[in-house]
């Protein structure tokens, strides 16, 4: 694991369940992430524009704009943003739909917090690599 990638890593948590979001936010903060919270898809868009998070933990089921709809909007704002979808109601169809769109992963509640931490770091690494590849790859394809 590349622990150095963690410093300054910005995570946006999007979930309508306040207790779940607050608890997760605390756990991520104590591990050194900069955490932002949004309780709905609309707020997630605002926060993404304002704070430019690296990784988003996005709940699938929310009133109003759901996770899948918010996903498209967030990717429009920042194509390199990495999104980990979260669901309390696993369905293969939705999972594959969102993976095809380029979600970093699709994970199910209840969460294993350690597993999530590794995933956030891996997602961040992928973001850095994608940004670098795009910056250095002008006029060249990848090897």
């Amino acid at each position: 694991m590349e622990n150095s990638t963690k410093s300054g890593l910005k995570v946006l948590l999007v979930d309508d369940e306040d207790r779940f979001r607050n608890a997760l936010s605390r756990q991520l903060s104590v591990r050194g992430f900069r955490v932002f919270e949004a309780e709905c898809g609309e707020k997630a868009i605002e926060m993404t524009i304002a704070e430019r998070p690296d990784v988003v933990i996005l709940d699938q089921e929310m009133p109003g704009m759901n996770g899948t709809e918010a996903f498209d909007e967030l990717k429009k704002i920042d194509p390199f943003i990495e999104i980990i979808m979260l669901t309390g109601h696993a369905t293969v169809e939705i999972a594959l739909y969102i993976m095809k769109k380029g979600a970093f992963d699709y994970i199910m509640k209840p969460l294993n917090i350690d597993e999530l931490l590794y995933k956030i770091e891996d997602a961040y690494t992928r973001r850095l690599l994608n940004v670098k590849k795009t910056n250095t790859g002008s006029g060249r394809g990848l090897v």
Partner: protein, 891 residues
Amino acid sequence: MGRIGNWFRKKTSGGGENRDIEVEYLRLNFKARYHSFKLLISANNKSLENMADIERALQGHDVFGMGFIKSRVTAISVSVFSMITHLKTITGGKYPGLEPAFFKIEQVIAEILNPKKPAADPRLVIAFKDVEPGMAYLVGEKMDHAAEVKNSLGLTVPEGFAITSTAYELFMKENRLQSEIERVIQSAGPDSQGPFDILSSRIRTLIMDARIPEPLEQAVRAAWQNLENAKGGSVRLAMRSSAMGEDSSENSFAGQYRSELNVSIDGVFDAYREVVASKYSVKAISYKLNRGVRDEDIAMCVGCMVMVDAVAGGVVYTRNPVDAADTSVYINAALGLPKSVVDGQDTCDLFVVSRAVDYEVIPARIFGDDPLDFVMVSQKEPAMTIRSDIREKKFKVACLDTEGVRREEVPQDMQTEPALSEDKIRELFELAVMIENHYGCPQDIEWALDRDGRLFILQCRPLKQMPIKDMAGNAPLDDAPPPLVQDGLTASPGAGCGEVFQVMKRADILQFPKGAVLVVEQALPAWASLINRASAVVTEQGSFAGHLANVAREFHVPALFAVKDAMKLLTPGETVTVDADGSSVYAGRIESLLRNKPRERNPMEGSPVFETLESVSRHIVPLHLLNPDSPEFAPESCTTYHDITRFIHEKSVGEMFQFGKEHDFQERSSKQLYFHVPMKWWILNLDDGFKEEVQGKYVKIEQIDSIPMLAFWKGFTAKPWDGPPPLDGKGFAAVMFQSTVQPALNTGMPSKYADRNYFMLSRNYCSLNSRLGYHFSTMEALVGDNAAENYVSFQFKGGAADFERKMKRVYFIGELLERYGFRVDIRQDNLTARLEGHDRESMVKRLQVLGYLTLHTRQLDMIMTNASRVIYYRDKMIKDIDALIAGATVH
């Protein structure tokens, strides 16, 4: 970061250092590939862990629900799809056949998980008189039977209507309840007893807060009005659950769902919500889980019957449920409403009626040859009451004037009066036999007697009788101590032993230890959720006609009911043996009683949930792609998810090795291991697997900094190999024969099969593809400080000897690996072993074991048919390995 920064500066300053730019560019690309490779390996690991979960579930030791299946299948699908994406990144899209293969499998699985439902009937409410035979899909089994008894047999069943499955689906859909409920269930975590009450109360709140759709409200009000018009006055209704699958012969769901009695029009919609919510009561969740019933298969229909203000009521069993040889009819009767019988709350009267018997003419020729020996019997025995247990009935359940019911005291002088007269017993007996004859199988019938002396049939369902083999009598007691208790009725046969655990309130349920003897005052349906964890049940009140007794019989748990003072006589914590057949409880464990205990069976086997997992697993778990050198090893041949993961894993490892060579990239090209001399081992440093930058074509073991690789190497080099075991003549001939048939096995020939061993490593990761002698093995390990992420996997195949010897060696290795804690799976001559979740020190030891075995099982196949040599080698290896992992020096 620093290096990348330098490269940016160089590039922008236009220094023209093309080689540096090229190298930096390759570094970045390698890093991106390595990152994808790492994610691919992690997804592979995750999918294998989930597959192992599925295999464990199919072994039938634990119960699981559809939530388990859906979450595992989703996790595996996501992992496999991720692997395809990562392989695409690594190879630049070299294997386009993988996605079609994946989606083909996914399609089949989706059809198993979401079977198409038949087109729905649009009616939300149906009057009983309009229910036709075979409408159970619309009104539920219970109301389908009630309507059939009314419409086809013409028996007296209260008027009413059913709120249909279409109505239920509308109610769930308009309130988006199904997905919300599944979300709550999944979030509650593993399927265990603990969180059921929180889960149940959260779901209940969702349902009780849900809105009744307007068309449903209108339909119910109109149906109610029709009943009142017909009666010429106001009515009260009994609202009974009539769920799909309830009251079927496989699953009785006895008492799992709720009935609301004496409901007024003001309370009808709350009562509807209550009945629907009872689908998720603690006992119903537990029952469904243990019986493997799929939640989505159960639409909750509700039967609404005009309330019978009964003076007596109860349950008739048309046969003895615990004795298939007994043809008598059993009538349980309470004062007031039948509720106290089915709830097992109070004691009730029992009348046993023998059937009318016709003896037929029996020609004696059947027995002998003498034509004169002709016996003719023409005798008719009338039905008669052969037993009347009139019990003290202190309480009864009665309707309140306004709405609802209450348990009230029976006046002293009435308490010991029979609940039924001889005439009514006879009438009820005849109705019961008529219903049994109609359905052609034993029936469990709920009845009520109103103030005008009319008998009503409220519901009927198939009665499950214990198969005779399950009722095998126990051996007579030889020198057993005198029983602690000798009393009670056999509610479910058999004998069970465990510690006494008294349950007095719901909170006690959570503390109930598996295997204990459940001792309670009343045989309430609420205790049903404990049945599958109890070794036996003893109650003070209740009859074998109650719901709890039904559930005990379904789960084959011995139960002894109506044991006076059981709570006083059986001390908590004391080990007792309950002999339900002999109506006795003994102190301690009485082996002679337990000897003939029916074999414990997995109640889920054959259930819809179990079968769903079995069907799904056939497209996930089996591995067909065993040989990477075969032309069949291709995306098009992948028919399971496991095939896909195997293919991807193999190809990804190859691609990572190719990178350095293909791009003439020295620092990410493999290096030859230098261990005293140059070895036939090549090493690729993926990331931080070397202590320092290594120049040239060799790397020394001291320069390596990979925890798993060094552990493996320690085992590999702990003890020098003695060379091939001395061959017996047959073994040698076997190898020679195979070598001539398969020239590639001959190491002397220039062949791609010659010894070659590739390590890929980083500090915490290592993979090895090895061909030593005639066998081929792969090993992969992740070892770090996070025990949850740690794993070792090992695969072994091949050998030069014939199939029998190869198999024997595979089993030999498998046995040794199991001894050291690996989970081993053997298919043909292909062995896979896995171990995960242990701490670093423990993983390091296991890797040493693998290193040792990789070297020392070489060519052992040659001696595998010689039993004494096999024992010699096994003992020697165990001794060496024990010394090795104990940290001692091996000599």
